[in-house]
């Protein structure tokens, strides 16, 4: 029963992945940067973005 017109989180994930189709690694990196900036704007809550940045960094080591 997944027949409503509302996209699901799975649809959003697929759209993010598919947006990269055919792009060079450089262009993919640009797309990611744009996505982050646009999403940060859509979230409309700087505190939430700051928390997300901290959460995203967790588990990644300094080079």
């Amino acid at each position: 029963m997944t027949q409503s017109g509302e996209p699901t989180p799975d649809d959003a994930f697929a759209a993010i992945v598919e947006a990269h189709d055919g792009l060079s690694p450089e262009a993919s990196a640009r797309l990611n940067a744009r996505l982050v900036l646009l999403l940060a704007e859509r979230v409309g809550d700087p505190a939430a973005v700051i928390r997300a940045a901290t959460a995203a960094r967790r588990g990644l080591e300094d080079a």
Binding site: A29, R30, A33, R34, V36, L37, E41
Partner: protein, 534 residues
């Protein structure tokens, strides 16, 4: 390069026959830059005498700090040089940001109408220094300027400071109750005291040039990311008085400062930037920025102000503006301490308040520096994509950081301010720097609010008669006092009674006149009540 004609300032031989005691002065100021000169004037306005020593006898060689922000212009008004500065300066409010050949954003820096001072004013540092020097001459009994006098040692004890001063006619000792170290980014007093000056240096080099050109330029700030005439870097152009423009070109970290200063290197760059307009070079410098501050600005009887206390990358014109704002915060406190009306503890609030401002300036300027000269591939990627998105997206336009312009620092929550009256809401709470507004005298003559606040403690009533409290002047707007022709005082200052500090910041406020609370808050604002909280 002709250069601005800088007359020599008069040298006076060391004072003779004045014993250490007879020669003792309330305040010695080391450094006759914009900060030291402003301090001498501000102290003189409060009746405090100072001796200003400077090892040089010329004003600044080039424009250096040339963009003065509204808050600083308000202070210049209070110091009595606002008119001279305005008569000479180029005022502006519009900033145009370009990416390559495309206009990315047009920023209006003066959203508040109805204030006396312009958003920004361009005036070469040497002109500002000359105007301040002329103002010093109005106080022959209170300001003693000594050029080509170099301080070589400073010692302090509980009672005061003793300086060793070197001149071509010999050395002498200068004894002072207080020493203001306004001796610039390479402060020798800081060095003598062996104080750490921590922070970071930016590797990016900038070419800065004062250019004479008969061509017309608009009264705007122009900022380019990756201009066609200077690929891959940033550029900035401002009009200055005397038919001059100031051009700032980013050169990147690998530029060789000696080579980039050569006229044969500079001229083609300027020619490209000016698009073939005729020009002469007046002054050229290659500059690297750093961001550092002293951990403490007050060390016993030695107080640091301006570049000696903090160096701030000048993006957004923060360097000298911050220094003049230090003076504004410091001098009334020092005058109260010298006059015995406050204990030396009051100076701790200078350290806390201007320390907050320095941190704020350093944080913002550091971000601007990184936006202009990204240091990692990721930083560059995000910067470039903000620029790319800005073409279609207003939110990205607002993220563009070509140097966030200097804004005054709010002092709320620090020890001199009282907690806000729960019955009050809206702007101008405790700690806010006062915003100007048009007023009229009872006889209808137009004027401005800020000059009426003067340089003393004032109880300002807006729509309410302020109570009489010992030690503060009273000023009423409405209720038979000053008129509020545009309704802007009432719009900016919600109805109530305000304690305004001598540096025109709100210390406390109430919805209704409250004489006991006002007396208490006034004592707090003078540093007489140490604990924090209402």
């Amino acid at each position: 390069m002709a250069g601005h004609v800088r007359s020599r300032l008069p040298y006076a031989p060391p004072p003779k026959g004045r014993g250490a005691r007879a020669g003792r002065v309330p305040v010695a100021i080391v450094g006759a830059g914009p900060v030291g000169l402003s301090a001498a004037i501000d102290l003189a306005l409060k009746g405090v005498a100072s001796v200003v020593v400077d090892d040089d006898d010329r004003v600044s060689p080039g424009s250096r700090a040339f963009t003065w922000a509204r808050r600083t212009i308000d202070i210049f008004d209070r110091l009595g040089v606002g008119e001279a500065i305005r008569a000479k300066g180029v005022t502006w409010r519009t900033e145009r940001v370009f990416h390559g050949a495309r206009t990315l954003a047009v920023i209006d820096h003066a959203p508040d109408a109805g204030v006396a001072a312009p958003a920004f004013l361009n005036l070469q540092q040497y002109h500002v220094e000359e105007i301040l020097l002329a103002r010093c001459a109005d106080f022959p009994d209170l300001i003693d300027l000594r050029f080509r006098h170099r301080v070589t040692a400073a010692e302090q004890d509980a009672a005061g400071v003793t300086l060793d001063v070197y001149t071509e006619d010999g050395r002498y000792r200068l004894a002072a109750d207080w020493l203001l170290a306004c001796d610039g980014a390479r402060s020798s007093v800081r060095g003598m005291m062996d104080l750490a000056f921590e922070g970071e240096a930016f590797e990016d080099r900038f070419l800065i040039a004062d250019i004479r050109s008969p061509a017309p330029f608009p009264d705007e700030r122009w900022f380019w990311f990756a201009p066609t005439f200077h690929p891959g870097q940033t550029a900035m152009l401002h009009r200055q008085p005397d038919g001059m423009v100031r051009l700032d070109l980013q050169l990147g970290p690998d530029a060789d400062p000696e080579r980039e200063r050569l006229p044969e290197r500079v001229a083609p760059r300027v020619e490209a930037a000016l698009g073939g307009r005729p020009f002469d070079l007046d002054w050229v410098s290659v500059y690297a920025f750093s961001a550092r501050r002293l951990a403490q600005f007050v060390h016993g009887r030695i107080v640091f102000a301006g570049d000696s206390a903090h160096v701030i990358p000048p993006f957004g014109s923060r360097g000298a503006n911050a220094g003049v704002q230090d003076v504004d915060n410091l001098c009334w406190k020092l005058a109260l301490v010298i006059g015995g009306a406050a204990g030396p503890e009051l100076l701790a609030s200078y350290d806390a308040e201007r320390g907050r401002a320095a941190d704020d300036n350093l944080r913002r300027a550091g971000r601007s520096a990184r936006f202009m000269g990204p240091r990692t591939p990721a930083e560059r990627l995000f910067r470039d994509e903000v620029l790319a998105l800005a073409v279609d997206h207003a939110f990205a336009q607002r993220l563009i950081d070509p140097g966030r312009m200097s804004t005054p620092c709010a002092l709320d929550g620090l020890s001199l301010q009282s907690a806000d009256d729960p019955a009050m809401a809206g702007p101008m709470g405790p700690g806010a720097p006062c915003l100007d507004a048009p007023v009229t005298d009872p006889d209808g003559r137009p004027g401005w609010l800020l000059p009426r606040l003067g340089g003393r403690f004032t109880l300002l009533g807006v729509g309410v008669e302020p109570p009489a409290v010992e030690g503060a002047a009273r000023l009423t707007v409405g209720e038979g006092g000053l008129g509020d022709p545009a309704g802007l005082v009432a719009a900016r200052y919600p109805r109530g009674v305000y304690i305004i500090r001598p540096d025109q910041h709100v210390a406390a406020r109430w919805a209704a006149p409250a004489p006991r609370a006002a007396a208490h808050a006034l004592a707090r604002a003078r540093g007489a009540i140490a604990e924090v909280g209402p």
